[in-house]
């Protein structure tokens, strides 16, 4: 409480020094540690001094006004962009110089703000592509249809249906992914990301375009996914009911800088955050 008072008094709001990792994860190494992370696009600093720690089973929220650099942070974490500065440790391992596909194999999976499915393929194939690195047979076994192929394809088929059942989508397995309704496409993207067996799942605006009841269902499902898979989830979202409802730690970004970190309560009463969203009070 003392710290909160300090925020309200001072003009500059310091980043809270205490970790926002939930208590149950405190004794374990964090899954993600970013320090001094930053990227410049030709002189323009898009993200700067991004420091964050995410616990092993934490649900973390990344919020901020449009253009604050939230998706850029995701792109840095997944190495779609190579950071200009700083380090990203995933489960204690440095991800420097890795490609996006290597990052996925190290344990980060993500969804996209503008849905990116394999539109011409079936729902099941989309999930199976997520299972790609867990299937181990070679091209030759595939072409010659060796026993290894049949065994692993059967396992992949079963696993895909099992994963789809999280969102009750197993009946849609044979449909073309691009022809699904919008909400189902968003859910399929999450299933595909989960199929890669991640330890950290990044969700970029998972509730975009959903109505309140769909959002409520999604909230339940996100918690359920964390509980079943015992993974960390970090999400970008504009729907404050979702963020405040399920995120244990929230990080607020504005103009590429972290302006506040803390629990939902702390963030809601933080004057800098209010200013960033609503403007300065006259």
């Amino acid at each position: 409480m003392a710290e909160k008072k300090q925020f309200q008094k001072g003009k500059m709001v310091p980043v809270p020094s205490v970790s926002i990792i939930p208590e149950r994860d405190l004794d374990k190494t964090p899954i993600l540690e970013c320090s001094h992370l930053g990227i410049d696009f030709g002189g323009l600093t898009a993200v700067n001094e991004f420091n964050i720690t995410v616990g092993r089973t934490e649900i973390a929220g990344l919020i901020g006004p449009n253009g604050a650099g939230k998706t850029t942070v995701f792109n840095l974490l997944t190495k779609v962009y190579q950071p200009t500065r700083g380090t990203i440790l995933l489960d204690g391992l440095d991800t420097h110089g890795k490609t996006p596909s290597q990052i996925n194999r190290m344990g980060i999976a993500r969804t996209f703000q503008n849905i990116r499915l394999f539109n011409n393929l079936t729902v099941e194939d989309n999930v199976k592509i997520g299972l790609h690195n867990q299937e181990k047979y070679s091209m030759l076994s595939g072409v010659l249809r060796l026993p290894k192929y049949w065994r692993q394809e059967k396992a992949a088929h079963e696993r895909a249906l099992e994963l789809l059942s999280i969102f009750d989508m197993q009946d849609m397995a044979g449909y073309q992914a691009g022809s699904l309704p919008y909400g189902a496409q968003r859910r399929l993207e999450i299933v595909r990301a989960l199929a890669t067996n991640p330890s950290l799942l990044l969700l970029d605006e998972p509730a975009a375009g959903m109505n309140p009841s769909e959002t409520a269902e999604l909230m339940e499902n996100i918690v359920k996914i964390r509980d079943t898979f015992q993974i960390a989830i970090m999400l970008i979202e504009h729907d404050m009911s979702l963020v405040m409802g399920i995120c244990e730690g929230i990080c607020v970004l504005n103009f590429g800088q972290i302006i506040a970190k803390g629990t939902a309560e702390e963030i809601q009463s933080n004057p800098t955050v209010i200013e960033a969203y609503l403007g300065k009070q006259q």
Binding site: N104, N119, I129, H132, S141, G142, S179
Partner: protein, 350 residues
Amino acid sequence: MKKINKKSLNGFINYGIVIAAFAVIQVLLGMGRLSNSLQSLLVPACCYIVMAVSLNLTVGILGELSLGHAGFMSLGAFSGITVSILLQNALPMASARLAVSMAVGAVAGALGGAIVGVPVLRLQGDYLAIVTLAFGQIIKNIIMVLYVGVDETGFHIAASSERFNLGSDGVAIIKGPMGAVGVTKLASFTAGFVLIMITLLVVQNLVNSRSGRAIMALRDNRIAAESVGINVTKYKLMAFVTSAALAGAAGALWGLNYSSTVASKFDFNTSILVLVFVVLGGLGSIRGSIIAAALLYVLPEMLRGLGLDDFRMLIYAIVLILVMLATNNDQLKALVGRVIPKRKKVAANG
């Protein structure tokens, strides 16, 4: 929502069509019902079918435009011819020599595919298309100055006729702009049939495996594919090299079907011809490629005999434009749809 039917059944239908066509043609041949000119089209038609199916792997399944597919065919043709002549004494059995030559042709095609693929697949879209075009031209150009022969002292290879010092008893295999001459014809319709079946086996089984799914994922959305851990270079290269290897084998079969072959046969126009088969057959549709290649190769050749020789290519051009307009213009498509009710098909990604 659109349901997609099971692909494995589709694959068996394709084998069935090819086997049935082979059986019918064999019966017609046995009854002597096929004219000589039609018989001479059988092996080239097989080559074009293999070319079209293999190019479909690059263009339809991987989603990258290639304008130099004939270049790989050329590599296969000349390496296959060379090997068949070198093995003339060591391997007297014609069918075995043909099989070895085709295998060597496939390896040559694959090597070419890897050489052009490794650096070039980093490029995207039209730029990749231009480089494949350039590569096809380079292969044609190099083979046109190449002299290859064998004599008592061994194997000779030179880049000009002056430097080509073949012994008097030697056999020249490739003679620069004149190409390969004096080739023993080893190709047969049965070999073509077997090559088509192998091609179908490779392409169809690849598509329905984890590697094939990875390749199609790259086509549909590269960024998403990377995000689920797919190695872009590896799978692009896999599709590209497989496609080039099959084209190489088809090239070897082609080369061993004629007593002489020139490099300019495998030019830009041949690459385009095969691309036309693929596009008209439907991107990603293996059956479409087979049927389009067979029909579009054989029909214009048959028009030759009808006194329409002068107008043959003109008709071909007009039909090509009209078909593209009818299948891709929304208004025309609606018009065609009203006349012929059509099954809904999965749109292929360009």
